[in-house]
Amino acid sequence: MNSLILRSVRVEYGGCAVVSGVDETLMAGDWLCLIGPNGAGKSSLLRALAGLVEFSGSVQLDGSEIRGLGARELARRVAFVPQEPVLPDDMSVTDYVMLGRNPYISTFGRESARDRDIVASLIAELSLAMYARRMLGTLSGGERQRVVIARALAQEAPVLLLDEPTSALDLGHQQHALELVDRLRRAKNLIVVSAMHDLTLAGLYSDRLLLLHQGVGVARGSAHEVLRSETLAEFYGVSARVIHEQDGTVVVVPQRSHGDL
């Protein structure tokens, strides 16, 4: 059973803490969504978990500190999709997804038949087969997002980190992308940690929300517990209505101030 345990995680840039005192325990299949206003520390926390920025405190993956893992070892356990992934225009979809196999290919080696099989089956699984030989520059936003997720999955890591996975997508594609992540985390028992701006979608898909404000976790729990008008007013400075639907969905609707704000 995979587990990801964060204890007193703190990230500093130039002596100034952007994340501090974050504690979380995640088990295989859990989806934690980080929410909070711009600059709250969501991305920094994800980058710390991906080993891209220094942090203090402890992050344990299956009982071992990620700080002690080499880059390749970490990449086999944690896959990271940044907010704006770089997709070289003239790289083919297959070659791009194959990048996700890098942690398994020796520095001077080349991909094995197994690597190619994994990439081909992921491409099929994510309905990308017809694009396999297309160049990334020719893909639409929704297709690009699927390709990026396919690359992350090619790492076969038990932990998937997504920074604003839907920010560049229209409503339909947002739903498709999140449904896909949801289906995959259940099928592959992944631990998913994502940062999201759309609070309704965040509450709809994740098991748990962690509201960050100035780097500190100020509210955590289910959508019902975290998404409250007074909480949002306090930390986002927004006047919003929170509607609890019968099916359990929590809908956040910003309210128009009619010029009183």
């Binding site: 080993g51 970490l74 940044p82 992934p85 770089v86 003239d90 790289m91 520095t107 001077f108 030989r133």
Partner: protein, 347 residues
């Protein structure tokens, strides 16, 4: 869209190698003196084991082919392959299409070294058993890069690619200033230095080939081994790191390997511009940007290009020599513009 490398990347290695061989035969066949051009391929076949062909080439003519043209062709192949592969590698690890093999100050350092060697190379060094110019150029190039590297990485945490490049710019200015100063005080060597800067293969000997071969072999081997990892860097430092690449380490190894080979090439051939930028770009225009294919094909393309450029360089103004740097730019620039235009038209 691009000529797709599917169906075996190995095919491109074979084709690339064949292109170099064809260029080499052409390079050996043409020249102001020596046997009629069509006899040269015959005599080459004759020299192969198990083959005997009456080529009608005299021993004196064979000497011209083997002692004068062959080292030139070999050196052109080595230098062209090195500069072009180094250029492609620099462009890959810095993700900047405009950087060239002289980026970290190799050119300016080697230029300074050569200038000093020319300035003191009066009567005192005339009797030396080895020509001090290549040695001085090599030392100058390596010292300049070592300086760039030391300065560029001295700023602790901000050790970024940009810092290194900026340090290269500063070291280049410094070395160029020093070179100008030395030249001003030694007016009589201006012509020699100038012709060295334009690059030449005219004085190539088998000794030059032996001198640079080990450095270039190590450099080429290292760069080719890293071509897959350099390709991973195309998605940016952060993502490459998240994919398990030790980005800083790879960049340093690649830069040092490329620089070592470049210094050796510059030491024997002077500054041959253009090859390190134009050849990799021509390859990219034709084949797409995958470094796994761009690196080896740039190497073959660079060798072919420089062997070919050396032919007009010895024939055009015969018996005088046209500097090869002039030829590469004169033919390379229009060719590159043609490729660029072709691609625009295709899109």
């Amino acid at each position: 869209m691009f000529v797709t490398p599917r169906g075996g990347r190995g095919t491109w290695w074979v084709l690339g190698g064949l292109t170099v061989v064809v260029a080499a035969v052409v390079g050996l066949s043409l020249g102001p003196a020596g046997p009629t051009w069509w006899r040269v391929p015959l005599v080459l076949l004759d020299r192969l084991p198990l083959l005997s062909i009456d080529s009608g080439v005299t021993d004196a003519q064979w000497n011209i082919v083997w002692q004068i043209r062959a080292p030139r062709v070999a050196l052109a192949a080595l230098v062209g392959a090195m500069l072009s592969l180094a250029g492609a590698s620099y462009q890959g690890v810095f993700r900047n299409p405009l950087v060239d093999p002289y980026l970290l100050g190799v050119a300016a350092g080697a230029g300074l070294g050569a200038t000093i060697a020319f300035a003191v190379n009066r009567d005192a060094t005339a009797t030396w058993p080895i020509n001090p110019v290549p040695v001085a150029a090599f030392i100058g190039g390596v010292v300049a890069v070592a300086l760039t590297y030391t300065v560029g990485t001295a700023f602790g945490r901000s050790r970024s690619a940009t810092t290194l490049v900026l340090a290269g710019v500063a070291v280049t200015s410094l070395a160029t200033a020093a070179q100008t100063f030395v030249l001003q005080r030694n007016n009589d060597v201006v012509r020699q230095v100038y012709s060295w800067i334009l690059g030449r293969l005219s004085s190539a000997t088998w000794g030059d080939v032996r001198l640079v071969l080990p450095y270039i072999a190590v450099s080429v081997g290292t760069l080719l081994l890293y071509r897959r990892v350099i390709d991973v860097l195309r998605v940016g430092d952060d993502e490459a790191r998240a994919l398990g690449v030790n980005v800083n380490q790879v960049r340093i190894i690649v830069v040092l390997a490329a620089t070592l080979g470049t210094s050796a090439a510059v030491a024997v051939s002077g500054l041959i511009g253009f090859v390190g930028i134009i050849v990799p770009h021509a390859v990219r225009l034709l084949m797409g940007s995958s470094n796994r294919i761009v690196l080896p094909l740039s190497m073959f393309g660079g060798a072919t290009f420089l062997i070919a450029a050396d032919v007009p360089s010895r024939i055009l103004t015969s018996p005088a020599e046209t500097p090869i740097g002039v030829v590469t730019a004169f033919f390379g620039a229009p060719f590159f513009l043609f490729l660029l235009r072709m691609r625009e038209a295709r899109q």
